[in-house]
């Protein structure tokens, strides 16, 4: 076992991690530990853009952006955080441009902007051009630009280091017991060795957990590692019931087709050729927020108006757009349709269906990206940013483009805060045998002598989540899911890992990831069962209305073996108030 010592350790090298690293690396001795080579991160798959009220092409201001974000999140957004994000969005875009990001340009040479779902002028009056973009590969450009700037600033990466534990110690300060960060433990995939990283500050930026679902736009590697590690160490997870299903995944595959397709004029049709969004959101139609569009699509299919041989998808119609316009603005996604479905979007509509896309919940933080261990207290030295975190700027439904914005704004904040903290704080002594928890975990998985296959359990988990915890939920489907997950957890105790080597044992890696997915699926389902209302991405058919009186609050799920009487035993569900500044909850209509 090797021990390393850094002021700041950043876990994850997607957009949030690298944005943090650029700041932290210039202020403090920083290491970035990442399961994947940085440029493999799923930030690179984001397409449509990053909103900021630059007002380059029409009147706009950050206050409208704040309002749209809050309304889009169905008023579960912490309004102070949304205000920070919308205000700092402008500099976040300009920072990227100065770092070299090749945005599309207006005829005047300024950063071009386009429409995106839920982004409006003057509090919902009409769609506004707010999304700054680089064709339909904005995430790719952000990931590349941030990596380029990490190279420029000599950021130290530990590639293919899989962090599996967060080390914290309880310290007595002025008679009170405080938890403080001591470091992390990582498994080096290339060698199979454990490494301990002692650090004054740790930033979690590990991304989302989309692989709990079967139909998903997420990468195979998005297994919620950071959330799982934190949760197992007693940190609560906030708002995990809110998962975003993106309306336009390629049918059957889940591969994302950007909302930019609709921003550029694409529309959704059912099997009858009807533009059905006119019925569900008469004002902004196909550009309604994602939760509304996804539910509308699922409802069309459920009521028998789906297209295709099994009537199980709807159609994204771009055929009325000029091919040159499609090529200039949507080159990648139209290529996906050609490559994977053999459909030519110039003259055929593309089969689409909602796909699991984004976890609105995660590790709770305040607006300085400090991780909360309770509603009132933070863990000094611990930060989180990006999809792994819940600030909460997305509330119960994230607006398109706001995730690329989130990683830049809060990644930067986390990097600065972590570095500044490390300049005043002392190292915390490592606990004795710091690697013991991780070694035990790996030995248990590796040494398991059962016959169950990781792939089979994961498939069944994803299937029950798709069937029971997707766009439409009821108490019955959620209870069914909990039962299924518990049975799978029991089978997980009897898995076999066939690869017996140490070098690049990705069989072992997948087994460990599955353990985390099972934990997170259970938390998501428990929180969904607890929230007896419908709001944003969480829709309970047995409680179809929003219930502000009882549920205008964040959920906080704690791992608690003593919670044997809970609806889902072992998970204690508490609440946290929503931060309000100036916007009173209103009915959400588009």
């Amino acid at each position: 076992m090797q021990v390393h010592k850094y002021d700041v350790v950043i876990v994850g090298a997607g957009g949030a991690g690298m944005r943090a690293a650029i700041e932290s690396g210039q202020r403090a001795r920083t290491a970035v530990l990442t399961k994947l080579y940085p440029t493999r991160s799923h930030t690179g798959a984001a397409q449509g853009g990053m909103c900021a009220a630059l007002a380059n092409v029409e009147e706009d201001n950050w206050e409208w952006h704040t309002f749209d974000t809050i309304k889009g999140g169905d008023y579960l957004v912490d309004q102070d955080a949304a205000e920070v994000m919308a205000k700092e969005a402008i500099d976040a875009v300009l920072d990227l441009e100065k770092m070299g990001l090749p945005f599309n340009r207006t005829p005047e040479g300024r950063i071009d902007q386009r429409r995106f779902g839920g982004h409006t002028r003057d509090h919902g009056k009409a769609p506004v051009r707010r999304s700054c973009y680089a064709a339909d590969r904005t995430g790719h450009m952000i990931l590349q630009t941030l990596y380029q700037n990490c190279v420029k600033h000599n950021v130290e990466f530990y590639n293919e280091f899989y962090v599996l534990d967060l080390l914290m110690v309880d310290e007595e300060v002025d008679g009170e017991l405080n938890r403080r960060v001591a470091g992390v433990v990582a498994y080096d995939l290339a060698s199979g060795e454990l490494h301990v990283f002692q650090a004054k500050s740790v930033v979690f930026a590990t991304g989302g957990s989309g692989k709990v679902f079967k139909t998903t736009s997420n990468a195979h590697t998005l297994t919620g590692d950071g959330m799982g590690i934190a949760y197992r160490r007693g940190i609560p997870l906030e708002d995990m019931e809110f998962f975003q299903f993106h309306p336009t995944g390629l049918a059957g595959l889940g591969i994302l087709l950007s909302e930019a397709a609709r921003g550029e004029g694409g529309i959704l049709r059912n099997a009858d050729g009807e533009r059905f969004m006119e019925r569900y959101a008469p004002t902004i139609k196909d550009l309604a927020p994602r939760d509304i569009v996804a539910r509308s699509m699922a409802n069309e299919v459920r009521e028998g108006r789906g297209a295709g041989p099994n009537k199980d998808y709807v159609l994204l119609d771009l055929t009325h757009l000029e091919p040159e316009h499609i090529d200039a603005k949507l080159p990648d996604i139209t290529e996906f349709a050609r490559t994977y479905l053999g459909v030519e979007p110039y003259n055929e509509p593309v089969p689409v269906f909602p796909t699991a896309h984004y976890n609105m919940g995660g590790i709770p933080t305040n607006i300085s990206a400090e991780v909360l261990q309770t509603n009132e207290s933070t863990i000094p030295g611990l930060y989180a940013a990006g999809e792994v975190a819940c600030v909460s700027v997305h509330g119960s439904n994230r607006l398109g483009t706001n995730s690329l914005l989130d990683i830049n704004v809060f990644g930067k904040r986390a990097g600065i805060a972590a570095a500044e903290y490390s300049q005043t704080a002392e190292f915390v002594d490592l606990p004795e045998d710091p690697e013991s928890y991780t070694a035990t975990l790996l030995d248990a998985v590796r040494g398991s002598e059962g016959t169950e296959r990781v792939g089979a359990i994961r498939k069944e988990l994803q299937e029950t989540m798709d069937t029971n915890v997707q766009v439409f939920r009821t108490a019955d489907t959620l209870k069914k899911a909990v039962g299924d997950i518990d049975a799978l957890k029991e089978r997980y105790m009897r898995i076999t890992v066939q690869d017996k080597g140490k070098r690049y044992n990705l069989d072992l890696l997948e087994a460990v990831e599955l353990g985390i997915l099972l934990d997170l699926a259970r938390v998501t389902t428990a929180a969904a069962l607890h929230r007896k209302e419908s709001r944003g991405g969480h829709y309970r058919e047995d409680f179809p209305d929003r219930d502000d009186e009882n549920f205008m609050e964040h959920s906080m799920a704690y791992l608690d073996p003593a919670a044997t009487e809970a609806d889902v035993p072992g998970i204690r569900l508490a609440t946290k108030p929503v931060e309000f500044t100036r916007y009173k909850p209103m009915e959400r209509k588009y």
Binding site: R40, K98, Q148, A219, L253, R275, Y340, Y504
Partner: protein, 264 residues
Amino acid sequence: MPTETKDESAEPASKVELPDSVAGSGEIPSFDITLRVRRYLPEFYDEAYWDDFQVTMYGTDRVLDALHKVKWEMDGSVSFRRSCAHGVCGSDAMRINGHNRLACKVLLKDLNTSKPITVEPIKGLPVEKDLIVDMEPFFQSYREIMPFLMNESAPPSKERLQSAEERERFDDTTKCILCAACTSSCPVFWTDGQYFGPAAIVNAHRFIFDSRDDAGDMRLEVLNDKEGVWRCRTTFNCTDACPRGIQVTKAISEVKQAILSRKV
């Protein structure tokens, strides 16, 4: 570039007649394949060897789906990198039937499934295990061309201006995902690992032709080295291999031209 007027002009129809073909055909075809995987497990065997797996696959399944099926259902030790599974992260470049491709972008039905489909690691980089190679030499070359915007002038308060035409000039090379399919398809790179390789040159091109960048001459100097662009023999393997459709050989030629015209 088309202007923004288009999407205001034609509000799409509320209802249209859809052709029957949109309904698609009813059956998803299945087919049996032999996946022949180049194995290298240095902890257990000194030599690399071929391993055949028979799997039944469906419809639009890709080579990556077949590899997953093998790993998840037959032999968990088969090792390869992958992440996004739709051609944007660059993890799963490999040699498929002798051609460098991303496993997630090659549909099995587009290959001859009556013969074994061979899958090997990309060439020219040290093999670590099965299809996994050491990417460090590749990223080393990338870092050497200074792949970041350099501009010494005081930044404006807002964005730097750039015309749509100036932006278009380097659009093609911004698409690179650093998968190494091009570099590891290059015969020069196979015999001379010191050669920068196509991917590094593509990324240099991306900055050399960016109107906002001031360091083009520095990069041209780096690539004028004996291991630089002049090693390119214009075999076009790289252009064929690029999963993003980048005109790699053309980009290399443009860099050669730039060296000649600016510096001679």
